[in-house]
């Protein structure tokens, strides 16, 4: 078992990216390069055509640099760090809905996510 370096913290990122082969690989590979651990990852197609949204929790010492370098990827449309208190596990589904994840909406109508 490996242990995370002492100065890492958990950060929650929401990444809007093209729904294409390789896009996820590029984004996640960038985090691996820094030897940061991805502790949670949810990804799915959005209601918009051809894009997907990814919610990931990463244990990182320098999340700013990760955000900058993710933003630089051609297949990444936007990156947002969401405040840590919003990122508790029980709130993930809510975050998914807020970030337009129709697949995760418990409602029968994916266009009308429950609040």
């Amino acid at each position: 078992m490996t242990t995370a370096p002492a100065n890492t913290q958990r950060h929650t990122l929401v990444v809007h990216l093209n729904d294409r082969p390789g896009a996820l690989y590029r984004a996640i590979g960038l985090i691996r390069r820094r030897d940061y651990n991805v502790s949670s990852l949810v990804v799915g197609a959005t209601g918009d055509s051809g894009t997907s949204r990814m919610l990931l929790v990463v244990e990182a010492a320098d999340v700013h640099q990760i955000v900058q370098q993710l933003s630089r990827l051609i297949d990444v449309l936007s990156v947002q760090e969401i405040p840590h208190e919003d990122a508790r596990l029980e709130q993930v589904a809510d975050a998914m809905r807020r970030f337009d994840f129709p697949h995760f909406a418990p409602s029968s109508n994916p266009q009308e996510p429950a609040r």
Partner: protein, 602 residues
């Protein structure tokens, strides 16, 4: 009944060729193989527009494409087959990534039905190159080729340039379709940061900082050369009277004989330049990324400076050095905007005589006093009595010959000779100095010179290379011979060691020369075997004549300079130390006991 074939049908391979022609490509560097054979089958139809240079190793093809790009400013193109052909391109792709060279690499891939089956010569080259490409494509449908090639060239050449990989399956090359050239680039997630105006607020803030500073410095790198901003740099420096320092990749962006030119900073930079950085109060960095070879230990870099960083890549700003003002944008636009903002400042002194801002002349005097005290190049001027050929003799003679004959391009490899050449030649013109910087790829020089020589057939391309790097890729001399090139002249600084590693072993590891003594063939005879001219030079008084003769000779020449074996590059900042702590040496080949260290004053 038989159907008449549609005359507009084209194979994917033909479409690929035509797409390259439509991008203005005239030269491609490559080697064929099974999965790229359909492309090579189509190539002769386009031989009027596309000249194919058959390299001897795909690494050579990749570095040649880089050399072509760096010399000309256009996108370099290399082609390889799947599997080992593609993996041999990995090193030059990484090199182009680190040095932001515009490159499109085209690889054949096994047929799409075989993807992921460990087919013969199948390698996941898209997966392998993800961390070292700006973007990459796996093309399985010939209909995608027009758009993908248009995007690949746009991405490679705009914003912060870099390598783009296009992996095309064999069946996509073989299938016939009617191509649609009305393509729309699908790049919603890409911003090249060049079309937009630079942030006016940040520019005003930067201008105010510069105007109020008493010890300002301008640090410039590759970005100034890539954006063609030398004239704007000169205008800003002269308007403000601020001295300019140029990184390894910035050499040539600012004329070295200009009174405001200080020289190169960093690990093998001049003492006065590093001292100036440690003393300055405002540091304007344009198009350089604070590489560790420039900053030394980053936390001790420029301790008194408010840093202004201009970069076309927003992820570089604040990456390594804390920044007071970040300006995202093209170097040329930013330099113009900065000068305009300075001109509009109300506090401007009316006396427009160069050093027109307050206290600026005192700073210039201080910097010039440092330069006089530490006297750059002095270590290399002193001679031993025995007349041994020193590496700096080669650089001095090449510099003198270049001064007499006008300009030429100089391509260097990686190691001691690279630093001597950077230190000891005068650099006046952008794109005249081509080297492997960020990646530090030994074996870069000979194939990169091949690419530069093809890009610039009317210019002389000098290669300065060590005997170690030369032995990694000298097979591309055969390519030069096949191409009938006459404008490449190769100077091997041959000391029989992997010299830079040996120098570190001498200075920091008690002369434990592990794995560094290096033998080699008779390079002059090797050159002759390749069908080019080879000459061995082993005394000082032959150097000038040898360079002159090589320059006049109507063909490729290899000069094997047998130099002092244990000459060293000075000054040197030990790895991981502050640039305020340099080791200097009175003689270039003495033992470490006489190496003097001094620390920056607090």
């Amino acid at each position: 009944m038989s159907a008449t074939p549609n005359p507009d049908l084209r194979t994917g391979a033909q479409i690929l060729c035509e797409a390259l022609v439509r991008q203005g490509v005239d030269v491609i560097f490559g080697i064929p193989g099974g999965a790229i054979m359909p492309f090579y089958h189509a190539l002769p139809e386009y031989s009027e527009q596309l000249h194919h240079v058959l390299c001897r190793h795909e690494q050579g093809a990749g570095h040649a494409a880089e050399g072509y790009a760096r010399a000309s400013g256009r996108v370099g193109v290399c082609v390889a087959t799947s599997g080992p052909g593609a993996t041999n391109l990995v090193t030059p792709i990484a090199d182009a990534w680190m040095d932001s060279s515009p490159m499109v690499a085209i690889t054949g891939q096994v047929s799409s039905a075989l993807l992921g089956t460990d087919a013969f010569q199948e390698t996941d080259i898209v997966g392998i190159t993800v961390p070292i490409t700006k973007h990459s494509y796996l093309v399985r449908d010939p209909r995608e080729i027009p758009r993908v090639i248009a995007e690949a060239f746009y991405l490679a050449s705009t914003g912060r340039p870099g390598p783009v990989l296009v992996d095309v399956t064999k069946d996509a090359q073989q299938a016939s379709i009617v191509p649609d050239w009305n393509v729309t680039l699908d790049l919603a997630g890409y911003d090249d940061h060049r079309q937009c105006e630079v942030n006016a607020g940040a520019v005003r803030e930067a201008a105010a900082l510069l105007a109020s500073s008493s010890r300002p410095l301008i640090l410039v790198g590759n970005g100034v050369i890539q954006s063609g901003a030398s004239a704007e740099l000169l205008a800003l420096a002269e308007y403000t009277g601020i001295p300019v320092i140029t990184t390894l990749h910035g050499l040539g962006s600012f004329p070295q004989d200009h009174p405001l030119s200080l020289g190169m900073p960093g690990m093998h930079g001049w003492v006065h330049v590093n001292r100036a950085i440690q003393r300055c109060d405002v540091l304007l960095n344009v198009g350089s990324r604070f590489d560790d070879r420039v900053t030394g230990k980053a936390s001790t870099f420029a301790p008194h400076a408010a840093v202004i960083h201009v970069d076309v890549d927003p992820s570089e700003i604040g990456k390594l050095v804390p920044v007071r003002v970040g300006i995202v944008g093209d170097a040329r636009a930013a330099l113009r905007a900065l000068k305009s903002a300075l001109e509009e400042l109300p506090t401007r002194n009316a006396d427009a005589t160069g050093a027109e801002f307050e206290n600026r002349s005192a700073w210039l005097e201080e910097v010039h006093a440092l330069r006089d005290k530490f006297e750059p190049r002095q270590a290399y001027r002193r001679r031993t009595d025995d007349g041994t050929l020193q590496p700096n003799d080669v650089c001095a003679a090449l510099n003198a010959a270049r001064r007499a004959r006008g300009n030429c391009r100089v391509v260097t490899d990686v190691g001691q000779h690279q630093m001597w050449t950077a230190q000891l030649l005068d650099w006046h013109r952008p794109r005249s100095h081509i080297t492997s910087g960020g990646s530090g790829t030994m074996g870069f020089a000979v194939p990169a010179a091949l690419g530069a020589a093809i890009a610039l057939p009317d210019e002389t391309i000098w290669v300065v290379v060590g005997d170690g790097g030369f032995q990694m890729t000298n097979q591309e001399i055969a390519t030069m011979a096949q191409e009938g090139l006459t404008n490449v002249k190769i100077a091997i600084v041959n000391n029989g060691y992997l010299g830079m590693v040996r120098q570190w072993q001498q200075l920091f590891e008690g002369r434990r020369y592990s794995g560094t003594p290096l033998s080699g063939p008779d390079f002059a005879k090797l050159a002759e075997a390749y069908g080019v001219c080879g000459v061995t030079v082993d005394s000082v008084d032959q150097v000038e004549q040898a360079i002159d003769d090589a320059w006049n000779y109507p063909g490729v020449v290899v000069l094997d300079f047998r130099v002092e074996r244990e000459a060293n590059v000075f000054p040197i900042v030990p790895q991981g130390r502050s640039i305020g702590e340099m080791l200097v040496d009175a003689h270039t080949h003495t033992t470490p006991s006489v190496v003097a260290a001094y620390a920056e004053r607090p």
